[in-house]
């Protein structure tokens, strides 16, 4: 039994890895599309020269380079894929297979990361070449903890978005809800500015949402400033468990109203 599951996983992984390698140009473009932190790096580094911020110029530069890297781990597109599956009716074929459709989507997300990361590390190296004063060596413990937090953050974000993609059963434009979600993500995750420069009230509110644990805290961990790991586990845990539960309900209801149009 266990052996068969492992074999399935291996086959899925290999198939999707081959596919991702084939489409590497596209993946590289997606990686480059995450350029926003590198733009803000410039703006904040310049602003830090004239104002009194909790972070120095070099710290801002370091923050945004690492934020760019960290952000790449939590790129999730399950809602676009699922919407396409439902609205084109291709979901029907997958429902006939003895494998839940989500496993294919998970495999594609994981293998994509393998293809994406070499380029991302390349860009990060270029950044440190451009700003050698920002170069620093993270502690091994911090790298380990940040990887752990990122893995957890990846699953939480995946689960939340997967829950939202269930809307595709009722609406042809389920992605609109993700766009709305992303607006909040943009401003509260630490992509636009580190949480250190935000008012305390906003920061406290943000910490109850999953957003800061996707970008700000993994970055902060890598930089050696630490992170409230217990809080992260609780918040991410609650959000992902609630999404998982809701997703189960919506999946069952949705399948009943699924009309397999176009198939």
């Amino acid at each position: 039994m266990q052996h068969r599951i492992l074999r399935k996983a291996r086959v899925l992984f290999e198939v999707y890895l081959a596919q991702m390698v084939e489409y590497r140009a596209e993946i590289y473009l997606w990686a480059a599309a995450g350029v926003l932190p590198l733009i803000l790096l410039g703006v904040w580094a310049k602003a830090a020269e004239s104002g009194s911020f909790p972070l120095s110029r070099v710290e801002f530069i370091r923050y945004f380079i690492v934020a760019f890297l960290v952000r790449q781990f939590t790129f999730i597109w399950v809602i676009w894929e699922f919407e396409e599956l439902v609205s084109s009716g291709r979901l029907s074929q997958q429902l006939l297979q003895p494998l839940h459709p989500i496993w294919r989507i998970i495999a594609s997300h994981l293998t994509e990361r393998v293809v994406r990361l070499p380029l991302v590390f390349g860009i990060v190296c270029l950044c440190f070449l451009a700003y050698p004063e920002a170069l620093w060596v993270p502690r091994l413990v911090d790298v380990g903890l940040a990887t752990l937090l990122l893995t957890f953050a990846f699953w939480a974000r995946f689960m939340i978005q997967y829950m939202m993609s269930m809307l595709a059963f009722w609406s042809e434009r389920a992605t609109a809800i993700e766009e709305l979600w992303f607006v909040v993500h943009l401003f509260l995750s630490g992509l636009m500015a580190p949480l250190d420069v935000m008012p305390d009230g906003v920061r406290a509110a943000a910490e109850l949402t999953p957003f800061p644990y996707l970008v700000y805290y993994p970055t902060s961990l890598l930089l050696g400033h630490g992170a409230p790991l217990a809080k992260a586990a609780v918040v991410l845990g609650i959000w992902s468990l609630a999404s998982w539960g809701l997703q189960r309900v919506l999946w069952r209801k949705g399948l009943r109203s699924y009309t397999a149009m176009g198939a």
Binding site: L36, K46, G51, S52, A176, E179, L180
Partner: protein
């Protein structure tokens, strides 16, 4: 005249099609509101700690942000719906049908769709611009002059977008090239002076002329006399339009009509 009627029809039919998804309008308006609040908040973070963005005061920087929001709304309304479709046409081979139509293919591809979902951004952007003008007491009839550089910005953006989308003739799966462009344009939400010298200034002056896109219209609204820079903007816009035109003609020679 006939052209105007055709485009009017295109937009009317797309509007009708999109109105099928009325709930989306609520979501689009909410996300536009979220962007507005978020951008305002993010901008205020620079000023909370006694810094300025390249010497711009908060209301002045707000003007740039308003123009940026306005442009983004126009991009969402006019550009992205059409140009994502262009890539789709190439991929499926339906570009054949477009080429057979008795209308210029570039014009058809650029005007066929109209998406009302960007309109909340347009409205909010205008609102911020008007608010920033009001706060600074800038009201005067000469403000209308700023429409000219804005049109140039739109022309530059359109040309960049269309040229990138035409690359799909060779590399089919490039619809996310425009995604990269869309993310680079994010730099236009701040005045160009907020960017440091070096690589940032270089990219956002020569690759994507951020200074021309939002900073120039804002400075004209502020009453600066920038005839020289405005001249450059017109020149860049005209050249960009011509370039996108000839690039499209060039690309079409390589179109091999997939799956037909």
């Amino acid at each position: 005249m006939r052209l105007a009627r055709v485009i009017g029809l295109f937009w009317w039919t797309s509007l009708l099609a999109e109105l099928e998804y009325r709930l989306n309008f609520v979501l689009a308006a909410l996300s536009a509101l979220g962007h507005l609040v978020g951008n305002w908040f993010a901008l205020s973070l620079f000023y909370r700690n006694g810094s300025t963005l390249g010497g711009w005061s908060f209301p002045q920087a707000l003007l740039v942000m308003g123009i940026f929001t306005l442009l983004q709304g126009l991009i969402r309304t006019l550009l992205t719906p059409n140009l994502t479709r262009l890539v789709e046409h190439v991929r499926t081979g339906t570009l054949d049908f477009v080429l057979l139509k008795p209308m210029d293919s570039q014009l058809w591809l650029s005007t066929r769709r109209f998406s009302p979902w960007g309109l909340p951004d347009v409205l909010f952007g205008l609102g911020v611009v008007l608010y920033a003008i009001d706060v600074q007491g800038l009201w005067r009839i000469g403000l209308l002059v700023a429409v000219a550089p804005l049109l140039c910005s739109l022309a530059i953006l359109y040309s960049l977008w269309f040229t990138l989308a035409s690359i799909s003739i060779w590399y089919v799966k490039v619809y996310n090239v425009t995604e990269v462009l869309g993310n680079l344009i994010a730099a236009a939400r701040y005045p160009i002076d907020a960017l440091p010298q070096g690589i940032h200034r270089f990219v956002f002056t020569f690759v994507i002329p951020v200074g021309l896109l939002t900073t120039l219209p804002a400075r004209i609204l502020l009453g600066d006399h920038l005839n020289g820079t405005f001249g450059v903007s017109v020149l860049v816009a005209v050249c960009a339009l011509l370039a996108s035109r000839s690039f499209w003609r060039f690309a079409l020679r390589y179109y091999t009509s997939a799956s037909s």
